[in-house]
């Protein structure tokens, strides 16, 4: 076997390798575009223009990014505890149920406390739905990956049943609830700016974005500045050592999955309370899986997650413009890029380590002239 690698310098580890990995994902995606018979550079131009070319595009980009920050954080917090939560999708979906139930039945709450209560409802339902796989992982030794996959489908079945048979607005064909009252809604930025006389194009970009940023800060404080965060990271690094340190991995597992489910509920705040203003079928639409790519790309750090979420926001919004400019490149391209990011930044993250290390070693070994 080959000799063990020398450790890379810190800057290469933190910045260079992740960048190389993500670059590889985009280069391969470029080849896919080329194979379809379109110009990759023109595609990138169309994509970026669609996402960032005007205020409307930026609004939509940040609206998508908000959802991705929530799902990214949800997946990332589990990464820190050494858990792989594939269930963010289903937890966000059930979170929507919590938001809708509060918004529809707690109308007696004064003013915008209703919106706050609905957001809490989303977080609680998301957490409760994550609690079962978390408990089973912690105390019944069943693997969280398998159980959360199952729970995504169970969530889908529950919501399908409830929306079609129970929650549907009477006399309505579509499986959706009645619209929420105004005080249950998370205000959109264009409405708020209108109060100050600033006109901003109508986009679903709403205050949930600030909530997402607050969650990022709280995430950072929790993971790196509190005892619980230390326990989470210790369990993730070495559960056996954690036990010797007086930490209960089972307890930490349950708490982490609860937090993860609550963060997933943020998607409901953004999409249901901030945009749709009623509960609809399949509103999560794969955002939970984007969270996996975001968390891997952002290396489970809030700053990285914000950057990765905005990048995916650009891809989702720009992908729409791209599919109009180049009909051959449907929006499925975005899922392909997402997959390649997970492949190169996640599964094959060490593939470029050896070449990069060799390259760096050769450069530093050159004798001074």
């Amino acid at each position: 076997m080959s000799a063990p690698l020398k450790p890379l310098p810190a800057w290469a580890d933190v910045a260079l390798i992740p960048l190389v990995n993500v670059a590889a994902a985009f280069v391969i995606s470029g080849f896919v575009v080329l194979a379809i018979g379109e110009n990759p550079l023109a595609a990138v131009q169309s994509l970026v223009l669609g996402a960032l070319g005007d205020l409307e595009g930026i609004g939509y980009t940040l609206f998508y990014a908000t959802s991705f920050i929530f799902t990214g954080l949800s997946v990332a917090i589990c990464f820190h505890a050494g858990l792989f939560n594939i269930g963010t999708e289903g937890q966000a979906y059930i979170g929507g149920l919590g938001a809708a139930l509060v918004a529809l039945h707690f109308g007696f709450l004064p003013g915008y406390t209703l919106a706050v209560a609905a957001i809490i409802g989303a977080a609680v339902f998301g957490a409760a739905f994550a609690a079962i796989p978390g408990y089973l992982q912690a105390y019944r030794d069943s693997h969280i990956v398998i159980t959360t996959i199952m729970f995504n489908y169970i969530a889908s079945a529950i919501m399908g049943y409830l929306l079609v048979n129970v929650l549907r607005k009477p006399g309505q064909m579509n499986a959706e609830t009645t619209p929420f009252r105004d005080t249950a809604l998370v205000p959109q930025f264009h409405e708020m700016l209108a109060h100050f006389g600033i006109t901003w194009p109508v986009t679903p970009f709403n205050l949930s974005f600030l909530l997402a940023l607050i969650c990022c800060l709280a995430f950072w404080l929790l993971i790196w500045r509190t005892r619980l965060g230390y326990e989470i990271r210790t369990v993730g690094a070495n559960p056996t050592a954690a036990v010797y340190g007086g930490i209960s991995p089972a307890r930490v597992t349950v708490i982490t999955t609860l937090l993860s489910g609550a963060l997933a509920g943020g998607v409901a705040a953004n999409v249901i309370l901030g945009d749709q203003h009623r509960l609809i079928l399949e509103f999560v639409g794969g955002f939970g899986f984007v969270g996996i790519a975001v968390a891997l790309m952002g290396r489970a750090h809030p700053v990285g997650i914000i950057l990765a979420a905005i990048l995916f926001g650009v891809l989702y919004q720009g992908g729409q413009a791209l599919s109009i400019d180049m009909p051959k490149i449907s929006r499925d391209m975005i899922v392909v890029i997402q997959g390649f990011v997970v492949l190169f930044a996640g599964a094959l993250e060490h593939m470029f380590r050896r070449p990069v290390a060799t390259l760096l070693a050769r450069r530093t070994a050159q004798p001074p002239i």
């Binding site: 069943s142 693997h143 169970i154 391209m333």
Partner: protein, 323 residues
């Protein structure tokens, strides 16, 4: 007798719905028994289905389609193998990536070529696998009890269905009665011991990954060329994950895998049959409850309430040879 005939019809439909599950489940069994966890079955079914439908559309030959579908699934399997075996990747992450890339790429290419939103054109009947009629089907079919069983359950399926059912005893025999099978199971339990015996862990695991690709590719071929006659984006509709659930439910054993897949297929057929039916007492049947039953049963099993599902000991753990 009427209920019996109705039962046979539902069971036969369940059998057909179980075919892709059986193939994908056996694929997962081979892979996971060698220590490679595979949650990318869903994506590989799609790749197999797309490859076979695309090539059958272009060439008009179902056999070339079958080869292409299986070959495409093997390629994707090898990517998972490379990540899991040589790169020692997190196998869950790799499987997730494969599901995303496969789901997106098949729809993207299908749309780029045929411009029907990712759907491939409907294949003519001669480019699909047709039902094989067994001898004297009409004569024996007229008999009571034995007749419907012979007519609907034994006769009248396509070649892939028979292959799928034959693969169960074949897998059982290969895993439990051959040297290769013994080694393969050993590598999933204790790769270091296999390595000590001078057998290549890497080669065994790669063989398992290729077998997995062949079987799961067939599952896709069946969906495209056996059941529907076209490819449609995301037509696997979660079957890869149901197969995964069946694998856990069957505790990674071939015969229970067959039984579980038949059960899940039967539940699926029942859900379709009971759509909109009003039952006495219960009222309209909550179809979603029946659809979710495979997942709920698997979670209950995983929770340890009905026996214990213990995966192969080394599954999911990359093997690092001692330096």
């Amino acid at each position: 007798m009427e209920w019996f005939d109705a039962f046979i019809v539902v069971f036969a439909s369940g059998m057909r719905l179980a075919v892709p599950l059986i193939l994908a489940c056996l694929a997962g069994l081979w892979s996971e028994r060698s220590g490679i966890v595979d949650i990318g079955l869903e994506g590989k079914i799609l790749v197999g289905a797309f490859g076979s439908a695309a090539v059958a559309t272009v060439t008009g030959s179902m056999w070339l389609g079958l080869l292409a579908g299986v070959a495409a699934a093997i390629v994707v399997s090898l990517i998972h193998g490379y990540a899991s075996i040589d790169q020692r990747a997190n196998q869950i992450v790799s499987g997730t990536a494969i599901n995303m890339v496969a789901g997106g790429l098949t729809a993207l290419i299908g749309n780029a070529i045929w411009s029907q939103g990712g759907r491939t054109p409907q294949l003519p009947a001669e480019a699909q696998f047709g039902a094989i009629k067994w001898p004297f089907v009409n004569e024996i079919g007229a008999l009571p009890i034995v007749g419907p069983i012979y007519q609907h359950l034994i006769s009248g399926h396509d070649i892939v269905t028979y292959i799928a059912f034959l693969l169960v005893p074949l897998t059982y025999w290969a895993l439990y009665s051959t040297r290769f099978g013994l080694r393969l199971r050993a590598v999933g339990e204790n790769p270091a011991a296999v390595d000590t015996a001078g057998i290549s862990v890497r080669r065994l695991r790669y063989s398992a990954v290729v077998i997995c690709g062949i079987l799961v590719g067939l599952a896709g071929v069946y969906l495209a060329l056996g059941q529907t006659g076209y490819f449609q984006p995301h037509m696997s509709a979660g079957r890869g994950f149901i197969a995964l659930a069946a694998l856990v439910f069957a505790k990674w054993r071939p015969w229970p895998a067959l039984a579980t897949c038949l059960l899940f297929g039967f539940l699926d057929a029942l859900a379709i049959r009971l759509q909109g039916v009003e039952l006495p007492v219960i009222g309209p049947v909550p179809v979603q409850a029946i659809e979710a039953l495979p997942y709920i049963l698997t979670v209950i099993l995983l929770a340890g309430f009905i026996g214990k599902a213990i995966p192969p000991r080394a599954s999911g753990i990359p093997y690092v040879k001692e330096r």
